[in-house]
Symmetry: C2
Subunit: 458 residues, 2 copies
């Protein structure tokens, strides 16, 4: 496989990539795919992949059609499996099977495993992979097994550095940038690892076991991607050994460990808005399937707020001006609760709250909520008094604001802590619970106090 030698010098900024993408699109539109490919061929494969996968479907297929199979294979070879899946999911069966037939079988399998089921089966059939191959159909992509490679350097402990280097030369392993070589005994049991830098700089007669350190962070094939990403960050790892009954069965190399982390982050961010699995430019039907159920569920929570307000219809009928301030009390509570929530969820994800007392965190947020509520309550009361010339209304609004900010602090901290204790990922469900509670409590406080003190307002 011939690799353009100069691509690594052509690192470009996102703005430059946008300009190239525009030019490529223009050339394809004019039917000049060859010139379009000329624009791309000297780029780093990561940039090539970004640009190609962001093209409209027909242009994407047109450009891949003029790339040599070698070039397609080279692009797949150098972009990470997640990007490769993005590009390949957007290619037709014909063009993808032609490309994958050029890639080594393991890598083709890797890409196939990341395609949607039916597409994967079509392509697998076209390139002659056995249909129904359990490795194709069942390997879960959100576990260590989905990111590990099974060709990796492993050495015996009782040799010296010179022999180890000799052995490394002989071993046919994937061209990943392994940062450590693993040391295993005769039965394949993992003993530890040697940093590549130690192997490179030690004298040839240094015994390997003197350089061996235990591996920080072992996972098994079914360890969730989330835990792999956590171990990487917490222990600053560049690669992860995958073991089964102590036997080394695979390695997650640095580039795949990094993709696993990025994929994990993305999923967590999208989960907060309940759009995990959706993409900004995929098929419409997929987006509807992801988003509409959640919007429908959420309707129930907004009706809960509506029901709360409707309890006070007689009060509202007497003092209709109250309606205008409903979004003020609820909105501020929602913002305050979300601030607390975001901090706590992130601190949990980073492991910063290890063994910290829930009571201490709750008290802290309650105090903060009261301080914020006091300031906002006074401010909102002054504005309302000036705007509506109604001191009673101003007083009720200020007190409701104070109360709801205190609620927001407690709920913003309490909900994620509670969900974590229940074993639920706090990132997923917290936001809607928190804003529902602050909405309902805000309306209850504001309209409740107004009803009780209606003589002050009317």
């Amino acid at each position: 496989m011939v690799e353009p030698a100069s691509y690594q010098e052509a690192i470009i900024t996102p703005d430059e990539a946008a300009v190239i993408a525009q030019e490529v699109r223009r050339l394809i539109r004019e039917g000049d795919e060859r010139s379009a490919w000329e624009q791309l061929r000297h780029l780093h494969p990561a940039d090539m992949g970004s640009i190609v996968s962001a093209l409209p479907r027909t242009s994407r297929e047109a450009i891949v059609a003029v790339m040599t199979p070698d070039a397609v294979a080279w692009m797949f070879r150098h972009i990470n499996p997640v990007q490769a899946a993005r590009v390949s999911a957007r290619l037709g069966t014909g063009i993808l099977s032609t490309a994958l037939a050029q890639v080594n079988p393991r890598m083709a399998l890797d890409i196939l495993r990341r395609l949607p089921g039916s597409h994967a089966r079509e392509v697998a059939e076209a390139i002659g992979h056995p249909v129904g191959d359990p490795a194709v159909d069942t390997a879960p992509l959100d576990t260590a097994a989905g990111f590990m490679v099974t060709g990796f350097p492993a050495l015996q402990p009782d040799i010296a550095v010179g022999a180890a280097r000799e052995r490394l030369r002989q071993l046919a392993h994937d061209q990943h940038n392994f940062t450590h070589v693993f040391v295993v005994d005769d039965g394949g049991q993992l003993i530890g690892q040697v940093a590549m830098i130690d192997l490179a700089m030690s004298l040839d007669d240094t015994p390997l076991n003197r350089l061996t350190t235990p591996s920080a962070g072992l996972v098994s094939a079914d360890t969730p991607r989330e835990e792999c990403a956590r171990l990487q960050r917490h222990y600053n790892l560049t690669q992860l050994p995958v073991v089964e009954d102590g036997r080394l069965i695979g390695v997650i190399p640095s580039e795949f460990l990094l993709s696993a982390s990025v994929a994990e982050d993305t999923e967590q961010i999208l989960q907060v808005a309940n759009v995990a699995g959706d993409s900004a430019d995929g098929p419409l039907l997929g987006s509807i399937r992801t988003r509409l159920p959640w919007l429908t569920v959420n309707l129930a929570t907004t009706f809960l707020a509506a029901f709360t307000v409707s309890l006070f219809e007689s009060t509202l009928a007497r003092v209709v001006v109250l309606a205008a301030f409903l979004p003020v009390v609820a909105g501020q509570g929602g913002i305050g609760g979300t601030q607390t929530l975001t901090l706590i969820v992130r601190a949990i994800a980073l492991g910063e709250l290890v063994g910290m007392r829930a009571r201490r965190l709750l008290t802290r947020e309650l105090i903060l909520g009261l301080i914020h509520g006091l300031w906002l309550g006074v401010l909102v009361a002054v504005i309302a008094a000036l705007w509506k010339q109604n001191l009673g209304l101003a007083l009720v609004l200020g007190v409701a604001m104070l109360g709801n900010m205190a609620v927001a602090g407690m709920v913003g901290a309490g909900v994620p802590l509670l969900l974590r204790r229940l074993g639920v990922d706090p990132a997923v469900a917290s936001a809607v619970v928190v804003t529902t509670v602050t909405d309902v409590c805000g309306f209850l406080l504001f309209l409740g106090i107004a009803s009780a003190a209606i003589s002050l307002i009317v």
Copy 2:
């Protein structure tokens, strides 16, 4: 410096860490700091750091007081600079300066640079660092300079692998796990890099320049941390060379590059809720300073919504039941807009929208909004008709829902795309703009249509 040999075997889960933390806290409370330290001393320094930094202030100081200076130095030595800053920011000047006096000067400097100004100056004075040292006071921590190390392996191109390995042995460099060695010419100009695995596995007489590849991703000392993190992810890098006029002046090693990425992610997540810079357990005053200004600014946006509602007071006075449905229309719009927003912001951050037409994305979200709005509009109309037995109200509500979901889709996609074009980070300001627009438009649509069609409702 003696390093406990076994720590790497003692990888623990967050739950196990929580149990140990509890035990440590109990022992310190009973005045038995020595036993508490026994609980910690065999842990991985990352876990030790997490547990120590999450202790209440007095306990934290008590445990650090019984750790040998060697052990403190060892902990600092192995945790990443961001974690080190967390731990050290929570230690008093006395105890911290005793500990830092044991650490090598460069590393002490690194930690000092990450402390708040006044604290840094006190500690610097205590350990005899020159006060006002520009390196201490001015190095920005959110740039490549804040993460690079200046002791790194660099070799000349005209030698062979054997000589390169010999040279690597002689060079005194920091004990970072460098994954590549850099190749520079006589003037220190960066030529390229050699992967440590290639150095380890190649024959001693292989010329180094045959293994040298150009470095993918160069940064300068003032490259923002954000861009370093982006390069790492986009090109799957394990370390980054820092150059000045082409001369190699530093290297960001893999563990610091990873911390930079994690710190960057955290900041982005916290920025969405406008709490960047805050922590879940820092001093109260810091939290107030971070959060209250934003809550105050947000008050203006909620008053915008209040003002919109108050425009329709006469309609509300005639049909007070409308008030109950205000949170339904606004709430659904807010959720829909946030879904779109989250997807687009993340896709921008990952560089997935390179050169993609804004018009295409906007049209897509508009269509999705209309489809979602149609379904939610019908649903909400049916519920309202059954609940309030008012067909006119149901019709108005359904139409307003349809309209506001379409607005939500357009605004959710349009605001981040517009902010990006203006050069503003879309993660920071998008959420509040989107929810303000969906609130105001929702109220305008719902109450506006209700006012126009009031004869249907009353």
